[in-house]
Point group: C2
Chain length 220, copies 2
DNA sequence: CCCAAAATGTTCTAACCGGTACAATTCGTC
DNA sequence: GACGAATTGTACCGGTTAGAACATTTTGGG
């Protein structure tokens, strides 16, 4: 071994944050792809610039890493949602935009969808432990609640709307569209998931939600 | 039960069909509960009246058993659907019944839902291999297609309806309602999943579908 | 009654996999 | 520049798990 100047060293460079981020990124992708029990810690480690040792050093155990990856998925997706500003729009337009955005956003974040699917398989027991995630989702509902309130104040939405129920409807369509694509297209073909059909479905979803919140007598 | 002449025997009674059924029932419940990689063959065996040996004897390997369990889940659920007779009803009433039935039926078959979720996590690669399942689902669509055709013939449904797209809408609501209950209720509470709220959601789903297929000008 | 094939019991194993022990290096700080 | 704490490298282990080997019993047919 030659005398080391700079580039060739016997040691290494410490960089805790980068290491954590590296691990978390790989972990998210692996867990999303293979599920909790389907994922191998060794596989995560090998895709990392660091080693298995560091996974256990920073995240304790496999479950700890999974939980943090789940949080990371939520954080990333909610971050994207924050970019949507609806406050200057009229209620109907705001709601339409929100629905269309959610539909598209879910499509663009399949890893997030898969993590939620996996959590549901596990009865949401790890999500339940995360206060971070609860806060993020409550924030999402508040945006919807403001729109509903605005629409009711202006008399264009019917009374007694339940923001959570509306969120349920929006999520059902947007989520299912991504989560069940494999089985659905395997059985019925891929047509429904090509661009034009997806636009139609999205529009249909928007229309359904708008019809749901509209005042019974007001058609316009 | 087979006739047992002697209760104390050195040997045993052969019963291939019962053994297969026993294994398959337990396997379905285990796979639905724990996923493909989360399920232990030994656990299945222990819940069975037979042994691990027989699992491999009849089903080859873990994947073979899983695939058969998946088929069994589809068969069971489609069997339940067959009990629904809509041919004597008017199109709108028939469609309303079909939607409400699907909604309830999914709720009553969480194991089936979970198997489909698991399949989707695995990108439907095992389902793709099963011709049985494809046939079953195509049959389900035909029922819906008949209703659509009837409604169009009578002029109460609009033209150009796509039965697969309608099936998508029905499934999205009915499926999501079961599949995402854990995460959803963990975040927003359990209210939406109590009986009365569920009735409301079901009605809302029925109404949405009916509105979707209705002729634009015809309100009645 | 006998025999081959089907069905079942019992025992074992090789690979895998989450996690750890132990050692070495780096870094902040005094 | 030394020292303790934080970080990283390397090698290993013990339990688990899918599956196989080998032995035995049952069953149906001639």
């Amino acid at each position: 071994m030659a005398t080391t100047t700079n580039s060739e060293r016997r040691g290494w460079t410490q960089n805790p944050d980068a290491v954590k981020r590296d691990i978390l990124t790989v972990a998210l992708s692996e867990f999303a792809a293979n599920g909790l029990s389907g994922t191998r810690v060794d596989t995560i480690a090998s895709r990392t610039r660091t080693s298995k040792r560091m996974i256990y050093y920073y995240f304790g155990d496999k479950l700890g890493l999974y939980t943090r990856a789940l949080e990371a998925a939520y954080l990333k997706v909610r971050e994207g949602e924050a970019s949507l500003d609806l406050d200057h729009l009229q209620p109907k337009e705001a709601l339409a935009r929100l629905v269309a955005f959610t539909f598209d956003h879910h499509r663009k974040n399949p890893d997030f969808i898969r993590m939620v699917m996996i959590e549901n398989i596990h009865n949401a027991e790890h999500l339940a432990a995360s206060q971070v995630i609860r806060d993020l989702n409550v924030a999402a509902i508040e945006k919807l609640a403001r729109i509903c309130q605005g629409g009711q104040d202006q008399g264009v939405f019917r009374e007694g709307l339940d923001p959570v129920a509306i969120h349920w409807q929006i999520s059902a369509a947007s989520f299912f569209n991504v989560s069940n694509r494999p089985t659905f297209s395997s059985i019925f073909g891929n047509e429904l998931f090509e661009e034009e059909a997806q636009r139609r479905i999205r529009q249909q979803t928007v229309d359904s939600i708008l019809a749901m919140v509209a005042k019974p007598e007001a058609t316009g």
